[in-house]
């Protein structure tokens, strides 16, 4: 059994919209992967099923041995955390300290440990003590995103799902956020699931891709394999990174269609 097992999951919203059907997948502890697909493909619904906010219409979600149907939400959210795309949709406390403490307090953690968890989470995301007393809305978007992640970290979930972490960020900020998520994965052992439309981010930071379309999982493979498969990319209505498309345009020169970075492209060209 893996840390996360999703078995033949289907979810239909109360208005009759079938958002997921026949989704089966496993995620091991310590993986870093991306979840891609068009808006409406079911990425967010799947995320909400993983952390127990939504219960399967049929099928099962089992995290760390806990089936979401027979576990409390607090059991699920302390194992799978979800960071919203827009941190402002998640932040509502008057200080960053209260914001980060809110989750642990809510699942019944006692005060001395809450303080300990706040300090720990703030340190991990690089928020100084001067920030903890500030109102989150006076921080930059990059820092607000860190507060949002810290608020999830304080619940100490093994799995963290981050929805579009780089939207609206410039290239340098995007690299900084992705570097930080990589650190959480490599040094703190968190399983990280990135929901993103940015295929450059997918290629640079994650080895495994879950691709969704119309409520089903259409591919579960490496970035290299998925980007070199035009049929899957078309079904997901996505285009590979520009460097991969360049490699594919030069396929007749013997360049591999799964090139993922400029360095790989240069090596492939020099070897052609």
């Amino acid at each position: 059994m893996s840390y996360v097992d999703v078995i033949d999951l289907a979810y239909t919203y109360p208005d009759g919209t079938q958002a997921l059907h026949g989704v089966t997948l496993s995620i091991e502890s310590g993986e870093m992967l991306s979840l891609i697909g068009q808006n409406g493909s079911g990425k967010t619904t799947l995320s909400k099923c993983l952390n127990g906010l939504l219960l399967p219409t049929s099928g099962n979600v089992v995290v760390d041995g806990h089936d979401s149907k027979s576990s409390s939400i607090s059991d699920m959210v302390r194992r799978v955390g979800y960071v919203f795309q827009n941190p402002d949709h998640q932040l509502f406390n008057p200080t960053c300290r209260d914001e980060i403490a809110y989750g642990p307090r809510n699942i019944g953690i006692r005060e001395p440990e809450v303080t300990e968890r706040v300090e720990e989470a703030a340190t991990v995301v690089g928020l100084g003590s001067e920030h903890l007393t500030e109102h989150p809305f006076f921080l930059t978007k990059g820092l607000r995103q860190r507060v949002a992640i810290a608020a999830i970290l304080a619940l100490r979930p093994r799995v963290i799902i981050v929805d579009e972490p780089t939207t609206g960020q410039d290239a340098r900020q995007a690299r900084e956020i992705m570097g930080f998520l990589t650190t959480l994965n490599r040094e703190h052992g968190h399983t990280i699931i990135i929901i993103t439309h940015d295929m450059d981010i997918v290629a640079a930071y994650t080895e495994r891709i879950l691709a969704m379309a119309k409520g089903t999982l259409i591919a579960d493979n490496s970035a290299r394999e998925i980007f070199s498969n035009p049929a899957i990319m078309e079904r997901a209505s996505l285009a590979p990174p520009q460097i991969t498309r360049l490699a594919q345009a030069l396929g007749d020169m013997g360049i591999h269609p799964g090139v993922l970075s400029l360095d790989e492209m240069i090596a492939a060209f020099e070897g052609s």
Binding site: G168, Q242, A249, L250
Partner: protein
């Protein structure tokens, strides 16, 4: 000679409560019909500069202005109230910020009614923007019930219906998924082909800005660091790398070929051009061997 669409002369702006100037001694000329791509990291002054051209600065913000910002030869502060906003249309990344009506059709018509246009003219323009942005199936829907990509096309169409001579787009696709993003850029490309409109486009994705922009400007820390026609802009990549700008794969690869001395061609700025450069080099190598 007619005046430029936009002429910015030794312009600086400091927000009232800030200690440093957000814009520092900017010089910029945009000719009528030209599309200018404006790039730079967050906080580099892109939005401040655009808001200065639309008159939001100094109109809606307190601060200290130095230098001149002229639109079609007239300083922005000398325009009569409302007249500048008729000339310069602004589209933001958050389309909901501009919605006021209960149906898409009312949203599209609202601005035109405010301009006092005749019903026949309103209908003519409505037909044009619906066709341009593919909105006919949505006319009866409430703007808040349609998808993000559709919302942004409505926001853009509502602005275009007022036929501003200058259109400023501030990260118009930042919130959109790839398919919706392509559709918005397709609308802009078609618009440029069909009408003479002056455009300033702020966008982090160089891949999307390159096919539209005639000229590019890089802002950093309130200053203009680099300006050139789009292709020439990528002749020297060191400055862009130093500023942490993410280069599209084709531009990066062509840069490698040029920097390594393999080619003396101009920079390639699309996948097709970069592929052709690579092919030419391999073709040349084979020719030498035979």
């Amino acid at each position: 000679m007619s005046s430029p669409a936009i002429q910015v002369t030794d312009y600086s702006w400091k927000y009232l409560h800030s200690t440093t100037r957000a814009i520092k001694n900017i010089e910029l000329i945009v000719q009528p019909g030209e599309c200018l791509g404006l790039i730079g990291s967050n906080g580099s002054g892109k939005t401040t500069l655009c808001n200065s051209i639309d008159g939001l600065i100094p109109g809606q913000y307190h601060g200290i202005k130095e230098g001149r910002v002229e639109v079609f030869g007239t300083e922005v502060e000398e325009y009569r109230r409302g007249e500048l906003q008729r000339t310069v249309g602004l589209v933001f990344s958050d389309p909901e910020a501009q919605f006021t009506a209960m149906t898409v059709e009312d949203e599209l018509v609202f601005g035109m009614e405010n301009l006092g246009l005749s019903i026949s003219e309103i209908n003519r323009r409505l037909e044009w923007v619906c066709d341009l942005a593919d909105l006919s199936p949505l006319l009866d829907k409430p703007p808040y019930e349609i998808s993000g990509g559709q919302k942004q096309r409505v926001a853009l169409a509502a602005m275009l219906a007022m036929q501003p001579r200058v259109l400023i787009l501030d990260e118009p696709t930042a919130m959109l998924d790839p398919v919706s993003r392509e559709r918005v850029f397709a609308v802009l490309a078609r618009l440029r082909k069909e009408r003479e409109i002056t455009m300033i486009l702020i966008e982090h994705s160089l891949e999307h800005i390159i096919p539209l922009a005639d000229r590019m400007v890089l802002l950093s820390n309130g200053r203009k660091l680099h300006e050139a026609p789009t292709r020439t802009f990528f002749s020297d990549l060191s400055l862009l790398r130093q500023e942490g700008i993410h280069l599209p794969g084709a531009v990066g690869f062509s840069g490698y070929l040029r920097e390594s001395g393999a080619t003396t061609d101009e920079p390639a700025i699309s996948v097709e051009e970069a592929a052709q450069q690579a092919r030419n080099l391999r073709g040349a190598a084979k020719g030498e061997l035979s």
